[in-house]
């Protein structure tokens, strides 16, 4: 069971390629957002005659207080976003290939140390994003998803890099594959949900203060929609995180003879779970809906970052397999 060094090198090159592609995609999405302000202006201008047309077309009386349909953004104008999507697709292909080739090179699931966690985890974030694009136009989120992915990859190749190797025995388990892959998907959803929550908070603030200043935020959905979208992602991510917790406990039981031992890593997985449970609770608690609940979601994501970046490296425990020296 040795490592195929050639393949491991190939995996690294694939990863660099995907990073380059992500970078251009990131620029594309950002340009698109920047153009969004101008677009929103056009829409505002265009919507007045549209309303009259609608009134003529309708057979009954049109009530004045009926909410107007959300502004329809002319589809053909978003070339930069299109470039963003195409290059994200290319980048995801290269990225997934890099992870897969690393797995073939080491002949094991390619998530045995922090470098591999970061590369595989960010691949899942990007994959989830690309998948949601198929049924929802979330291109406005591109900057806020591809940005973190790039950051994570940058961190991986600079700080966390670990040469391909085999695993210590306690990591050899099917539960590793299950526990870690579900943790990835869940974290990926939490990441996108986090971006949406930030956008919600900004948008909510603008709406509350009746901001007249034009900004790229005009191109984004309204606060209420951003909030709902973020809730739905959280509502999927939370059960997956619950599963991660349970699968981790089963693995710990198999490997160390106790399903729960308050090891620093376990503590933080628990803290994250409790904070997000608090978020879901807050949404159903009078006086806590809206901004306050969103703050809890931000706190939850802060815990996820802390867990990955600080606990893995600085807190020693049973789980000390970061592989970073």
């Amino acid at each position: 069971m040795s490592v195929n060094e050639n393949l491991a090198t190939t995996a690294n090159y694939l990863l660099y390629g995907s990073m380059a592609s992500y970078t251009v995609a990131f620029l594309g999405f950002t340009l698109d957002l920047a153009g969004g302000a101008a677009r929103a202006e056009r829409v505002a201008l265009a919507s007045a005659p549209q309303r009259e047309l609608a009134a003529v077309g309708a057979q009954g009386p049109l009530r004045d207080d009926a909410p107007t349909a959300p502004p329809v953004v002319p589809p053909a104008r978003r070339k930069a976003a299109g470039i963003g999507v195409s290059l994200t697709l290319l980048a995801v292909l290269l990225h997934v290939a890099a992870v897969a080739v690393r797995g073939v090179a080491t002949q094991r699931p390619p998530w045995g140390n922090m470098y591999e966690f970061a590369t595989a985890g960010s691949a899942v974030v990007a994959l989830v994003f690309v998948a949601t694009l198929r049924w929802r136009d979330l291109r406005y989120l591109g900057t806020f998803v591809i940005g973190p992915v790039l950051l994570m990859l940058g961190l991986a190749v600079t700080v966390l890099y670990t040469r391909a190797g085999q695993l210590v025995p306690s990591l050899k388990s099917v539960w590793l594959a299950i526990h870690v892959s579900v943790a990835f998907i869940s974290s990926a959803l939490f990441t996108i949900a986090f971006s949406l929550t930030v956008l919600y908070l900004v948008q909510e603030r603008r709406e509350r203060s009746g901001a007249a200043k034009r900004s790229f935020m005009d191109a984004l959905p309204r606060a209420r929609e951003l909030d709902l979208a973020s809730y739905r992602l959280h509502a999927v991510a939370f059960p997956l995180w619950t599963f991660t917790l349970v699968a981790g406990a089963i693995w710990a039981e198999n490997a160390w003879g106790r399903y729960w031992g308050w090891d620093p890593k376990e503590v933080w997985t628990f803290v994250i779970w409790v904070v997000y449970a608090g978020y879901l609770h807050a949404r159903a608690t009078r006086g806590w809906q809206g901004r306050k609940a969103a703050t809890l979601a931000l706190a939850g994501y802060g815990c996820i970052l802390f867990n990955f970046l600080v606990v893995n490296i600085f807190f020693v425990g049973f789980h000390s397999y970061a592989g970073v020296s």
């Binding site: 009954g60 085999q166 709902l228 349970v246 608690t285 006086g287 425990g317």
Partner: protein
């Protein structure tokens, strides 16, 4: 708790308490079981769990706690008094989660009662004004009111609504499983807590080191350390036995991760009781052995040099595979030999190095964890081993308080450095020490946890409940049919529909659209069709 599904804040508005003890108790209880308190306690629980990840914990690593006392002599006793080294057993941490669970019971029981009642009763009557509902539609159709209501009933029934007819109105409700799931989730958390508690009270866990070729019998004295819950009778542990037949260990031989452990595998023969049928099995790091209600885990391994001590006449005083504890990734290991049969008790303090390397002037070190060039360094002591004091002693520590180092003829302390097969004479006619060979030992952790299965069952129930609670839509739909006369004088029916949901539900408009599409096979005049 409001019964309206649309009201997401499932708590009653705070009421001022009536004076008097009963009123006060009721007020406190209501506060404790409110959503706001539950939220506060949840957040408090998250914050309270954090110190345990920063400070060393006795339950996780007692050695680190001792070290912390040495490096922080000023603050450590204070942290200890506040429970900082036993966070998860501390009064304050326990208080938080116990209050949380009291709140949970107080919240879930009334909701369960209410839910059971709701499941047995009809949906509530339709409200007077549909425009107030989160979604509503109004259309005019050709069919008669009766036909419309019949069709609506069929559609709603096929979409698994429970339907109640009330003259010209229908009210329908679906998704009772959402609330069921939510209750199951919260009750399962309670079950999880009880299962963990059962494990603490009724479970036990022991650690033992067994050399290859040796046998282990499951009695409390055989363990190097044993932790048992307060309700466990340690004199009546299940009487199984275990022989360690083989231990295979593999390390990375080359590359950047040279020396990293790759594979541990213990081959054992187990019997449920002495004399019972035996069974051969393999224990690996992620594959414990189940025997007689207990699980045997392979957690560690190391070297047990076989050491023989003879007196001057050649009589054997001590001969055993002696486990040495490894100190680093290259298995530099320390251990001791205690010889009591001689006139003067002998103690040997040892350092075992699987692959020895010398650097001048310093202690030899091990440079690889596998047996490539094994060496044993021993420092002999004579005197009183302190075994008669009645104090329990660790087999890995030599109490040298009442012993002297043996000195050679040159007056320097004696140090023996041996390879397998070597024999060295002790000075002063004390006899000889032989390093016969090296065996490996396995570090087993044996555990019995009667709460384990219940914990898993509760966790699974909680996940199922959570899924239902988050993804089953709970909706109410109302339909009203009213006859009207159209402009050309023919009789027509105005159908009003409305819907509301519990929690966030973006599917209400679609639900009404579907319903209306079914009531209206071909397109008719639209009176008003704005999504509310």
């Amino acid at each position: 708790m409001s019964a309206t599904p649309a009201d997401p804040s499932t708590e009653p508005a705070p009421q001022l308490p009536r004076l008097g003890p009963v009123g006060t108790v009721r007020f406190v209880w209501r506060q404790l079981t409110s959503m706001r308190t539950a939220l506060f306690l949840l957040m408090l629980l998250a914050v309270a769990a954090v110190p345990g990840s920063v400070l060393p914990q006795r339950g996780v690593n007692p050695g680190q706690v001792t070290a912390y006392f040495q490096t922080h002599p000023g603050t450590a006793p204070w942290i200890d008094r506040l429970g900082g080294f036993d966070v998860y057993a501390s009064v304050w941490f326990s208080a938080i989660y116990l209050l949380l669970f009291v709140s949970l019971v107080g919240c879930v029981l009334p909701r369960t009662r209410q839910h059971l009642r709701a499941m047995r009763s009809q949906p509530p009557a339709a409200p007077r004004r549909f425009e107030r509902m989160p979604a509503h539609r109004e259309v005019e159709v050709d069919a008669s009111p009766d036909e419309v209501l019949r069709a609506a009933r069929a559609v709603l029934g096929s979409r698994r609504y429970r339907v109640r007819a009330d003259g010209s109105e229908l009210s329908a409700e679906r998704g009772y499983l959402r609330e069921t799931g939510n209750l199951v989730f919260h009750l399962a958390l309670l079950g999880l807590l009880l299962a963990v508690a059962a494990g603490h009270l009724l479970g036990w866990r022991g650690d033992v080191v067994v050399a290859v070729g040796d046998q282990f019998s499951n009695t409390s004295v055989a363990y190097n350390s044993l932790n048992a819950g307060p309700w466990v009778d340690v004199s009546a542990l299940p009487p199984f036995q275990l022989d360690l037949d083989r231990l295979d260990v593999a390390f990375e031989q080359r590359g950047p991760q040279q020396g990293q452990p790759r594979d541990f595998r213990a081959t054992v023969t187990s019997r449920a009781a002495p004399g019972a049928a035996s069974q051969r099995s393999v224990v690996e790091v992620n594959h414990p052995l189940q025997v007689d209600g207990a699980s045997v885990f392979l957690l560690g391994n190391g070297y047990a040099p076989v050491i023989t001590v003879r007196d001057a006449k050649g009589t054997e005083l001590y001969s055993a595979a002696t486990p040495f504890l490894n100190q680093d990734g290259n298995y530099t290991s320390v251990g001791v030999v205690k010889v009591v049969g001689a006139a003067r008790q002998i103690g040997l303090q040892g350092l075992f190095l699987p692959t020895v390397a010398f650097s001048d002037g310093r202690l030899p070190v091990s440079v690889f964890p596998d047996l490539k060039n094994p060496a044993l360094a021993l420092t002999p002591f004579v005197g009183d081993l302190g075994l008669s004091s009645g104090q329990p002693q660790s087999v890995f520590v030599l109490d040298t308080a009442k012993m002297q180092r043996l000195q050679g003829r040159d007056g320097k302390p004696v140090r023996l450095l041996m390879a397998p097969g070597d024999t060295a004479q002790l000075p002063d006619g004390l006899g000889s020490v032989t390093f016969d060979r090296v065996e490996r030992y396995a570090g087993f952790s044996v555990r019995h946890d009667p709460g384990r299965v219940w914990a898993l069952a509760s966790a699974i129930a909680a996940m199922v409940g959570l899924g239902l609670s988050l993804f089953v839509p709970r909706r109410r739909v109302f339909v009203r049919a009213r006859p009207v006369e159209s402009r050309d004088g023919s009789p027509r029916t105005v159908v009003e529909t409305a819907a509301l949901a519990r929690g966030e539900d973006t599917g209400l408009d679609d639900e009404l659209d579907r319903l209306i599409a079914a009531l209206r096979p071909q397109r008719h005049t639209t009176l008003e069709e704005a999504p509310a």
